[in-house]
């Protein structure tokens, strides 16, 4: 008889769609965005640092004496739309972005093999240069668009592909293109419930050879995510100094074999404005 009651309960529960959650631990893999975003009425405060190269010696405490900082506030307006604003000491850059979740990986009633997210972002360089290299305000702006495609293969492994288009109103130098195309590869491998290993690489398509004065490199980063309740700590080694797409994809000037490896970290704290 009790077996019977169980069967009745199971019959009453309609077939469900289960969505893949926590594909990445944070809204960033290392430098670049992941498909994760803040849910509705959740605010994230992010503090990021990238220090000087590790090989700058004990006198500079292996780079930790000097660092670039990025502060950001990011808010989930709905469960599928997040926007954020930020300020970086790198080129004294202000930025704003919107992130739209279009498809979510799911199985059950609805089957979807991957997540798909669209990111649009803009950056303004407010740094004063002498002599002035920006003729007007517009020339200080750049626009970034990304399509983020990610799949959580199993509990441990998630992989993301990130086609990227960057338009700068003014290229950094006369021989650089204003438009840049890049393809990002990112992955997350969980070592334990609360610790994950991250990898991120952006291949940047530069059709013309770099000049000898400014040579640009592709950003390559390895990171560790540590989750403690309401915080996520991300510690990384990377050759990029900037913490926004226009900078780390477009203008990374240090290389891994040129002793340009830096330590860095992101700290994210989430606040909820949802009512119980």
């Amino acid at each position: 008889m009790s077996q019977d009651l169980d069967a009745l309960l199971d019959k009453a529960v309609k077939p469900q769609t289960t969505y893949a959650t926590a594909t990445f631990k944070s809204t960033r893999i290392v430098n670049g965005h992941s498909i994760e975003r803040m849910k509705k009425k959740q605010l994230e405060f992010r503090i990021s640092h990238r220090f000087d190269p590790i090989n700058s010696g004990s006198y500079n405490f292996y780079g930790l004496d000097y660092g670039r900082i990025h502060l950001a506030l990011e808010y989930g307006l709905t469960d599928w739309f997040e926007f954020g604003i930020g300020r970086s000491s790198y080129d004294k850059t202000y930025d704003a972005f919107g992130k739209f979740s279009i498809l979510r990986q799911s199985k059950g009633v609805k089957n979807m093999p991957f997540h798909l997210t669209y990111l649009i972002s803009t950056e303004v360089i407010s740094m004063k240069y002498y002599p002035e290299i920006f003729p007007d305000f517009n020339s200080r702006m750049s626009y970034i668009q990304q399509i983020l495609i990610a799949r959580k293969f199993n509990e441990s492994l998630s992989i993301q592909l990130t086609p990227t288009y960057i338009h700068r109103n003014l290229a950094p130098s006369a021989i650089d293109k204003r438009d840049l195309f890049a393809l990002g590869f990112g992955s997350r491998y969980k070592l334990s419930k609360r610790i994950a290993l991250n990898f991120e690489y952006y291949y940047v398509n530069r059709p013309i050879s770099n000049s000898e004065i400014t040579k640009y490199y592709n950003p390559l980063s390895f990171g560790i995510d540590i989750e403690t309740g309401g915080h996520v700590f991300q510690i990384m080694v990377t050759n990029a100094i900037a913490m926004r797409e226009g900078g780390f994809i477009g203008k990374t000037m240090d290389s891994w074999n040129g002793a340009g490896i830096r330590l860095g970290f992101n700290i994210a704290r989430v606040f909820s404005f949802a009512k119980q």
Partner: protein, 195 residues
């Protein structure tokens, strides 16, 4: 003639019992509280399904872990991912856990105190049964407030559970933030079960 009367009475009783013996709802409320002075940890699901059979006083509950809603989305994610492991697919679990269903919490038991289902008066009844959380089944007894009725049964119950009893690991870093005992409250309004 006598046989016919007895038969008719039996038949009537059977039809009556068949029509009225089971009461059901699929939007019962279950909330739990494991708050400490350091952290408010409260969540509620209003999608629990439950059934009562007043013929033999049996009762069953079932709730999907993912239907619990928290104020903080991150807490909800950690609840499912790290503590209840509700989203963990069966194939990636340890061999001993492969057959178990982590996606639901269940209760199956019996009201052991006598109860007059025609009285429409609120009574406090003892309920005894098996509670399954995180794939672990334990025998529990709890007190329930039951208000019988012809077309409606109202029930409320409360139970305290210790996460470790159900193999829910709590790391030392957050041990002070999560209550040692979790209070679970249940509220259900049953209607006659229709096929």
């Amino acid at each position: 003639m006598n046989k016919l009367i007895v038969f008719s009475i039996l038949l009537l009783a059977f039809i009556n019992a068949g029509a009225q013996s089971r009461f059901f709802t699929k939007d019962a409320k279950i909330n739990f509280n494991s708050s400490t002075p350091l952290e408010d940890i409260i969540a509620e699901s209003n999608q629990a399904t439950t059934i009562i059979d007043i013929n033999n006083n049996e009762v069953a509950f079932s709730v999907l872990i993912t239907t619990f809603k928290f104020r903080r989305a991150l807490m909800e994610e950690h609840f499912n991912e790290n503590y209840m492991e509700s989203s963990k697919p069966k194939e990636s679990r340890e061999a001993a856990d492969k057959m178990k269903d982590f996606s639901k919490a269940k209760f199956k038991g019996k009201i052991i105190s006598p109860i007059d289902w025609n009285s429409e008066k609120q009574v406090i009844a003892d309920v005894k049964g098996d509670l399954t959380i995180h794939g672990v089944t334990k025998e529990v007894t709890l007190k329930a407030q039951i208000t019988p009725g012809k077309n409606k049964i109202i029930a409320a119950a409360e139970i305290k559970v210790i996460p470790q009893d159900y193999n829910i690991a709590i790391p030392s870093a957050v041990r002070d933030k999560i209550a040692k005992e979790v209070t679970i409250k249940i509220e259900a309004i049953y209607a006659p079960y229709q096929q």
